[in-house]
């Protein structure tokens, strides 16, 4: 096998590569660098001779007062993880990032290790002994993917510990609805009774789901801020969403879609969906406290799922869940809501670090722990 070379690539080159692939994470699109404007973004490519064979978006985060950076490849890089020789991909990556002033690398290989079907999770939640996903036999395990973890360990990478599946970075456990080869009837049949009932209820109540334009982001943001207050999280400002809109829709017109659910003219729920190739993500969601009984949230999800399927997506991704299956854990509500859609829990390889400068890396991770 020949050696691979890593060097920066232009945005058009990167985008062309993304378009040539079945799917990569939206966090690995060149547009995402524009959204994360507090980080310095760089598109890099792996070259086998003159052929571009892999790509990544690197976000550089500067250490306070030092010209040294953490190089972060969220849900990336997009390389051939099944190549038996990962060193040939990761060694030139480390060399390039070090030359750019990185003291450490953090990445999240987009490699699925295990899957649990909805029925399995439902049964596990009902069983008091099974309190985490890891304790439940997976319905599918990918031994090749598990081997990647061992290979990373041998190459000096360390998995970042997560607490219940939520780390500072991207979630290790996600929930997805497979869409390939399924029609609407099949998707509805996979849902639990409550989901089906709520979807019907919303339709009966006359909830209307429409696609919004950039101008509707302000409406979305109003409901989103209300949700943030209710659920006790810090909302992102409106300009963040406007920037996301501009950057993502410039890349592909339907990269980012805004959905609005109205009842009698009142906005009751609003969401965004991102799509890259055959993968669609539900990214942000908001709902009003008023009129919860018209089930705008279920109606809007159902519309996104159908649209994702029609657009040719093979998976509708509801993103992070915690690992807990403990009925007493408040986080279990989130997984129960998602399990109701009949999809599957998906475990990724997690986020991995490679320290390039041991002292700085140690200082950085200590700082993160104290934060």
């Amino acid at each position: 096998m020949s050696a691979l070379v890593v060097r920066p690539i232009s945005t058009p080159e990167h985008l062309a590569f993304v378009r040539s692939r079945p799917s990569v994470s939206f966090l690995q699109t060149p547009a995402w660098a524009t959204v994360k404007n507090e980080w310095r973004g760089e598109s890099i490519g792996w070259f086998d001779g003159v052929t571009l064979v892999g790509a990544a978006l690197v976000l550089y985060r500067q250490l306070p007062r030092l010209k040294r950076y953490l190089a972060y490849l969220p849900e990336g890089p997009d390389i051939d993880w099944t190549d038996g020789d990962l060193a040939r991909w990761l060694t030139p990556l480390a060399a390039h990032l070090k030359s750019q002033g990185a003291f450490g690398i953090r990445m999240g290989p987009p490699v699925v290790t295990r899957r649990w079907h909805a029925a399995t999770i439902k049964q596990a939640i009902a069983d008091p002994v099974l309190t985490t996903l890891s304790a439940v036999p997976a319905d599918e395990s990918d031994s090749e993917a598990l081997e990647v973890a061992a290979a990373l360990g041998r190459l000096g990478w360390k998995e970042i510990g997560t607490e219940g599946g939520f780390s500072a970075g991207q979630p290790k456990f996600n929930f997805q609805i497979p869409l390939s080869g399924r029609d609407e009837q099949d998707l509805l049949a996979g849902m639990n009774q409550q989901w089906r009932r709520n979807i019907k209820k919303a339709a009966k109540a006359g909830v209307e789901v429409t696609r919004g334009s950039r101008a509707d982001l302000a409406d979305f943001h109003r409901v989103y801020s209300e949700t943030a207050e209710r659920d006790h999280f810090t909302p992102r400002p409106l300009p963040y969403f406007e920037r996301m809109w501009d950057a993502l829709t410039a890349e592909e017109p339907d990269r980012l879609l805004l959905y609005l659910a109205r009842h009698d003219g009142d906005l009751v729920a609003a969401t965004t969906m991102v799509r890259v190739g055959s993968h669609a993500w539900y990214s942000y969601g908001a709902s009003t406290t008023e009129k919860r009984d018209v089930r705008g949230s279920n109606a809007i999800q159902w519309q996104m799922i159908r649209d994702a399927r029609e657009a040719g997506a093979s998976a509708y991704d509801m993103r992070g869940i915690t690992e807990t299956l403990d009925p007493d854990d408040p986080h279990v509500g989130l997984i129960q809501f998602k399990v109701g859609t009949g999809g599957e829990a998906v475990e990724y390889l997690g986020e991995w670090d490679l320290p390039l400068n041991r002292a700085l890396y140690l200082g950085f991770t200590t700082y993160l722990k104290r934060r």
């Binding site: 295990r114 399995t120 049964q123 596990a124 069983d127 002994v129 099974l130 304790a135 439940v136 036999p137 997976a138 319905d139 599918e140 395990s141 031994s143």
Partner: protein
């Protein structure tokens, strides 16, 4: 030669019946030396007890088990593709613990065989990781799953681990509700059955069944000769000098009976090690304590045991037995071989 196991048959069988009655679904384990009784005898006892299945350790033990027992015979050692003594029979239940083995057994001559799927416990000896169960099921092909098995360690409480595996089995794609377990106490078994009413829990029990009532068993060795010896007198194959005046006893029971075969001690705590150091005495002189009890005390070997007899030193102040007398021996039943097993 007479190095015999004396069994108070009525008392021993009373113990067996009591345990079997209190342990629904029990599968007796009959492996190795048959816990001193011999495997054939235990197979016959299992039939008498009305049991439908016995468990043997290895494939080498299967043919005799099939001959001596009319029901099913399960093999505890997981099947491996390189085993040359595998017995394929409809009464044999194989254990599988690796996905590749399942595929190989299913694809080979064993297609259609009955299998137990084993999960890897904290024993870390054999078995599948819980996340491999789906792949195992996919590899089954024509194999018929008779149950799921776990082998638990003996240290501490095992109930938690047993229940985690029971829950994992119920949430898995493995289509069986029969759950074979080992090394749970009767109380733990009861709790497990109560908490997992959907599972048919079947305990596999060896030692606490066959050796559950040691009071019904005694091991007797026959004194073959006695000699008076003086301090410094050299005796035996190795011509070692005797430490004091006393008797030299030649007693039936040597290495061929399992005498002085040492396995690492199960108890290896600081206290235990301190105790054996403190014994001092003849041990310090290079003598070893024998398992023979004479005149109320465990006595020292005069030299390493022979193949079929042992030479024991008895100090002059002890009451020496006569030729033909029988003395008690403490043996590890799983390593002992008796000249005869006498059920009386």
């Amino acid at each position: 030669m007479a190095f015999d196991l004396e069994v108070d048959a009525e008392r021993w069988r009373r113990g067996l019946r009591a345990l079997v009655e209190h342990t629904p679904g029990i599968v007796p384990v009959i492996k190795g030396n048959g816990y001193g009784f011999g495997r054939d005898r235990l197979a016959v006892e299992s039939t008498e007890l009305g049991l439908d299945t016995i468990a043997v350790g290895t494939y080498a033990e299967v043919p005799a088990a099939l001959a001596a027992f009319g029901g099913d015979v399960m093999v505890l050692t997981p099947w491996r593709p390189f085993f040359t003594d595998v017995v394929l029979d409809d009464r044999v239940i194989h254990t599988v613990g690796r996905v590749e083995d399942i595929a190989a057994l299913s694809a080979g001559a064993g297609s259609g065989s009955r299998v137990l799927v084993e999960g890897e416990t904290s024993m870390s000896r054999h078995g599948l990781d819980r996340h491999e169960l789906a792949a195992a099921v996919a590899a089954l092909g024509d194999l018929r799953v008779e149950g799921f098995a776990i082998h638990l360690p003996m240290a501490g409480s095992n109930l938690g681990e047993a229940e985690r595996w029971a829950a994992a089995l119920e949430a898995s794609q493995v289509e069986t509700t029969t759950f074979y377990v080992s090394h749970l106490t009767p109380a733990e078994l009861t709790i497990l059955c109560e908490r997992r009413p959907n599972l048919d829990v079947r305990p596999r029990i060896g030692t606490s069944l066959w050796l559950g009532d040691l009071g019904a068993l005694s091991v007797r060795a026959t004194v073959l000769d006695t000699h008076l010896v003086a301090r410094g007198e050299r005796v035996g194959y190795r011509q070692r000098p005797m430490p004091r005046d006393g008797f030299l006893l030649v007693i039936s029971g040597g290495t061929s009976h399992g005498i002085a075969l040492e396995a690492p001690k199960a108890t290896a705590g600081v206290v235990q090690r301190g105790k054996s150091l403190a014994k001092g005495g003849l041990e310090a002189a290079g003598f070893s304590l024998s398992p023979f009890t004479i005149d109320g005390k465990q006595r020292w070997f005069a030299e390493p045991p022979h193949m079929q007899a042992s030479m024991i030193f008895l100090p002059a102040n002890a009451r020496a037995p006569q030729v033909g007398d029988r003395v008690d021996v403490a043996v590890r039943f799983t390593t002992a071989t008796f000249d005869a097993v006498n059920l009386r």
